[in-house]
């Protein structure tokens, strides 16, 4: 365009200045001030004049027939407005579910897991509601429980769901298997003959909880038109709506949903929790109903990360080249399907990790059982696989006699490598480079408890408990790397919608961005404002509350929101910009020839040429006009994996992260202290570097949690949850947390807006195996399960 640019025209030309707060800058959160002053309204903070409190009665047993339910005494309690069971549901639609509608709103006939909702109560005080719920008499006849692959697929196994008619039933070997995905490429049997070394391993990955701090909660307000307004914390308003409306017997436009403040999500809010229950009670009583889970209920009220058994075999030549891989991954999906089918797709297609292996034989299944339902959690199927394949890499490197990092680098995938599904990775895949970077970071000081600042027992494993002064403490270092897909895969129509508006308010050009994206803490609203500033050249951007008055934004999960809704915002902004320039041409085009000839941008509140000359103030162009456009946006389409061979271009994009963990272990007491957990990640383009690093550190710590402390413990005999509280389910505190240095690499993905990559999940993958590798390195033990507990390190308990 340079030659057609008009320069030297004397009128109306100044040098434009860049808009501040655009992409690439660490702009601060627009909701930050409200969050630090306590004024930000989370879903549990909702309040309405005259509102009632809802309470759910849950099953105390995992698997039973319900013989009778007597609500009389509960209903007679003063202050109680309604007690509802399955029989009170208003329509024939009594189940919901993300993909398979197998989850009852309230149990009918049978309960399938400990904590399943059986009845709901509305009362004028939460304690009244709790006491009334306790007065509901339910008679159960207990059934045998299915808790693992053997009990699920035994010839005489009771079916968790009888009469299944979902679309997976045709290809699963047993009705207690939700979904099965084999992947066969090359010939693993043949290739194995070339292996000089073969390692096999069996691994167990424990059930992790999202443990977001903001409890499941919300407020349902009945409206005059017979509909309901629901204010709720969720990850995907439109997906909720699709599941809620049919159960209520209402058309979708009579269920108006608005996102209220979300206190973290991590996948745990993809499924419905209290949404339908609150709406049912509100519609029945004609009063606003608020439901807030306590922490105990929260452990029952959302799905968890699938626990998994993973059986792996890898081979390598004596020069360290991988020859083949065989694996079987058994995920326990629990009583209801939730996201299990998609988790199976991820676990299988990403089971080889970021490595070149041409000959593979893979099978992943998810079971139906009477364990707690499992579904989405940060890392989604890729986490479990990464834990196993990285353990295998260490074992194999040792057998070959190579350095563990060098071994990985030798086999690392690159741009162009085929996944086991036959799909090429067609964007940068800097696996070897990330390992190099994380290895190059300086190591933390040895025995820092003895540092010059004087000995500080708090630095030691056991910390303030003063259990050791360093005797018996050994250090270990471990590495791991992983690959995660970004966005919904396997042919899912993973679109997003954004509405962008531009106008003059109080003498200033202002943009408003309206999407249904759930801000769950990840900072999406921050980058939306940054995108609008960059594309529209305005300083002031208003983020409209997320609701169902605008088209779907898809889910805030799968690391996809900045990519997909960010893409939609960018796209909508570009169209708005075109409209604004059209108006400019109409109003001002005669003043300056550049209006017709130059490439025009909006920057710093002005219309400028690509040479930086100012043609007009946006305020003058927009005065008296409102430009508003709603636009859908889609990434490249994908296809489902073939059900026999697993072949198909099923994924959209990938993200890669590598970790190095440094741990100190008190070998006498079996106590682990993670000293440092360094991460290197490729983010494509860091739209907001501060948030990017925050996401990586948060994801890293969740991975560390599962490595050394977090696990929902389910009794194998009764399928009851043993530790549904923050007293017994251990989350890392700031004392358990190491320093987390982060090295961010930005290799643009040409297919993505601004070249960005989803970032939220990848750091959760490699963090766990890196910590395990470091503990193995420190102790010399095998350690094939998460989390590692003291008894595993001291040989005093079952592994």
């Amino acid at each position: 365009m340079a030659d057609t640019r008009t320069t030297g025209i004397p009128f109306n030309v100044t040098q434009g200045s860049k808009t501040k707060g655009g992409i690439g800058e660490s702009t601060l959160r627009p909701d930050g001030t409200l969050k630090v002053t306590g004024e930000f309204a989370y879903s549990s903070d909702m309040w309405h004049e005259d509102m009632l409190w809802g309470q759910i009665l849950r099953s105390p047993v995992a698997h039973a027939e319900i013989l009778s339910i007597d609500t009389g005494e509960a209903l007679a309690t003063p202050g109680v407005y309604a007690v509802l069971t399955y029989d009170d549901l208003p329509t024939d639609v009594k189940n919901y579910g993300l993909e398979i509608q197998d989850t009852p709103v309230l149990a009918h006939g049978k309960v399938r897991h400990h904590g399943e909702p059986v009845a709901i109560v509305a009362a004028d005080h939460p304690e009244t509601a709790r006491r009334a719920a306790a007065k509901i008499k339910v008679e159960y006849r207990e059934l045998p429980v299915i808790t693992d692959e053997a009990s699920a697929t035994a010839p005489d196994a009771i079916l968790v769901h009888e009469g299944r008619d979902d679309h997976h039933i045709g290809h699963v070997p047993h009705p207690n298997i939700v979904h099965r995905q084999p992947i066969v490429r090359g010939n693993a049997e043949e290739a194995a003959k070339k292996a000089d070394f073969v390692v096999k391993g069996e691994y167990y990955f424990g059930m992790q909880d999202q443990a977001f701090l903001g409890p499941e909660s919300g407020l349902a307000v009945p409206s005059e038109d017979g509909g309901v307004d629901l204010y709720v914390a969720t990850q995907w308003l439109h997906s909720d709506l699709k599941q809620i409306a049919p159960v209520l017997g209402l058309p979708e436009d009579k269920v108006r949903m608005t996102l209220s403040g979300v206190g973290g999500a991590f996948g745990g809010r993809e499924d419905l929790s209290m949404q339908i229950h609150a709406c049912l009670l509100a519609l029945r009583t004609g009063k606003p109903v608020k439901i807030v889970y306590n922490r105990f209920e929260s452990f029952f009220g959302h799905v968890h990360r699938h626990p998994a058994r993973l059986y792996y075999e890898h081979g390598a030549t004596k020069d360290g080249k991988l020859t083949h891989m065989k694996c079987k991954i058994v995920l326990d999906g629990g009583a209801y399907a939730s996201a299990s089918p998609a988790v199976v797709g991820n676990a299988s297609s990403l089971s080889v990790g970021p490595y070149v292996i041409d000959d593979v034989d893979i099978e992943a299944i998810a079971l139906y059982s009477n364990n707690p339902p499992c579904g989405a959690m940060r890392g989604f199927g890729a986490v479990q696989a990464c834990f196993a394949y990285e353990a295998q890499m260490d074992k194999l490197a040792d057998k070959v006699g190579m350095d563990r990092v060098a071994f990985r680098q030798l086999n690392a995938m690159e741009q162009g490598t085929l996944l086991p599904t036959g799909q090429p990775v067609d964007s940068p895949a800097p696996v070897a480079e990330l390992l190099r970077r994380v290895q190059a970071m300086p190591l933390p000081m040895e025995r820092q408890w003895e540092s010059s600042e004087g000995s500080d027992v708090r630095q030691l494993p056991g910390g303030l408990s003063n259990t050791t002064h360093g005797e018996g403490v050994v250090r270990g270092v471990g590495y791991a790397v992983g690959i995660k897909n970004v966005g919904f895969s396997e042919g899912f129509d993973d679109y997003s919608t954004a509405k962008v508006r531009m106008e003059v308010i109080n003498g200033e050009a202002v943009a408003t961005v309206h999407t249904a994206m759930a801000e769950v803490g990840q900072g999406g609203i921050t980058v939306h404002a940054q995108i609008a500033r960059t594309e529209l050249g305005v300083g002031q951007v208003t983020i409209h509350p997320a609701d169902t008055q605008v088209g779907s934004a898809g889910s805030t999960s799968a690391s996809r929101q900045t990519y997909v809704t960010g893409g939609a915002v960018k796209n909508a902004c570009e169209l708005v910009r075109e409209k604004v320039l059209e108006i400019g041409r109409r109003k001002k085009g005669t003043y300056h020839p550049a209006w017709a000839t130059a490439e025009l941008l909006l920057e710093g509140g002005k219309v400028v040429t690509d040479g930086g000359e100012v043609l007009a103030d946006l305020v003058d162009v927009l005065e008296g006009e409102v430009v508003e456009l709603e636009e859908e946006w889609r990434h490249r389409p994908t296809v489902p994996f073939d059900l026999v061979t697993g072949q198909g271009n099923g994924h959209v994009q990938y993200s890669f992260a590598a970790h190095r963990a440094v741990v100190e272990v008190d070998t006498e007491l079996g106590l682990v202290k993670v000293i440092e957990l360094a991460c290197a990640q490729d983010v494509g383009k860091a739209l907001n570097p501060l948030s990017v690093v925050g996401q990586i550190q948060g994801g890293t710590l969740q991975g560390m949690g599962i490595a050394v402390m977090e696990e929902i413990v389910v009794d194998p005999k009764t399928a009851k949850v043993r530790n549904p509280s923050f007293t017994d389910y251990l989350l890392p505190t700031i004392l358990d947390t190491p320093t987390i240095p982060v090295d961010v690499l930005e290799l643009a993905d040409d297919h993505a807006p601004y070249g960005l990559r989803g970032i939220g999940e990848a750091p959760t993958l490699s963090s766990t195996p890196a910590v395990l590798a470091a503990i193995r390195n420190a102790t010399g033990l095998e350690l094939d399960r998460t989390p590692v507990r003291p008894e595993h390190l001291t040989g005093t308990g079952p592994a």
């Binding site: 001030t33 306590g38 701090l213 690093v693 925050g694 948060g698 923050f726 505190t733 700031i734 987390i740």
Partner: protein, 209 residues
């Protein structure tokens, strides 16, 4: 029952309080102060941390009846509390003198407590808020993600810095070990507390530990 106490410098009265209602419930549901958060209601997460006569407590573990005649500071009053402290040489409630640290028995007279009152701000945008140093540092350092842990952490961190204006990393970790955060990995929280401490020592050079 009826409970009278001071919240953020203002005399408050709660009526029809049930036996067993927690201070957290009374603040959130009866007084319209939902800033203190309800993440576990069993004393494990620190999200509900408030200061009771100057001492940080989990308000979910305090029975409402226990606060009769006493003085509570919540995150909503933190900015004004910090401002008053800065003006009065390190103490806003009278609790940081000799009585500091004696859980539950620090003597704050109602008169002392009423020397200050938190001021309302625009609840839509937070504009007009004057933030305390620790609040500003949390924003600047990127220590807020979902923000659910933030109010409790702010109250705890503010009190820790009051006691220990120049904490080591180990001191910060120890001081905040009762507050869970699921989002941040705590690194940016460490940054925020270090930042607040540094700014504090830069602006009040004469004030030793």
């Amino acid at each position: 029952m009826r409970v009278n106490f001071t919240v953020n410098g203002r005399q408050q009265e709660a009526d029809d309080v049930w036996e067993g209602e927690s201070l957290l419930y009374v603040l959130r549901e009866r007084m319209g102060l939902p800033g203190s958060k309800n993440a576990c209601e069993q004393g494990e997460c620190g999200s509900c941390t408030v200061r009771l006569d100057g001492v940080p407590v989990c308000s979910c573990l305090v029975a409402a009846g226990q606060v009769e005649g006493r003085d509570v500071v919540t995150v909503e009053g933190l900015a004004e509390f910090a401002r008053q402290r800065a003006q009065h040489g390190g103490c806003a409630s009278g609790a940081c003198g000799d009585d500091a640290g004696k859980a539950g028995r620090a003597g704050t007279s109602l008169q002392d407590a009423q020397q200050w009152q938190s001021r309302p701000s625009d609840s839509q945008t937070g504009e007009g808020d004057e933030l305390s140093p620790i609040q500003q540092a949390f924003i600047d350092a990127g220590a807020v993600q979902c923000g659910f842990c933030t109010p409790g952490l702010l109250v705890a961190a503010d009190e820790m810095l009051e006691r220990n204006p120049d904490p080591s990393d180990a001191d910060i970790r120890e001081g905040l070990s009762g507050n869970l955060c699921r989002c941040t990995g705590y690194e940016k929280i460490m940054d925020a507390v270090r930042l607040a401490a540094a700014r504090q020592s830069a602006t009040v050079p004469s004030q030793g530990a």
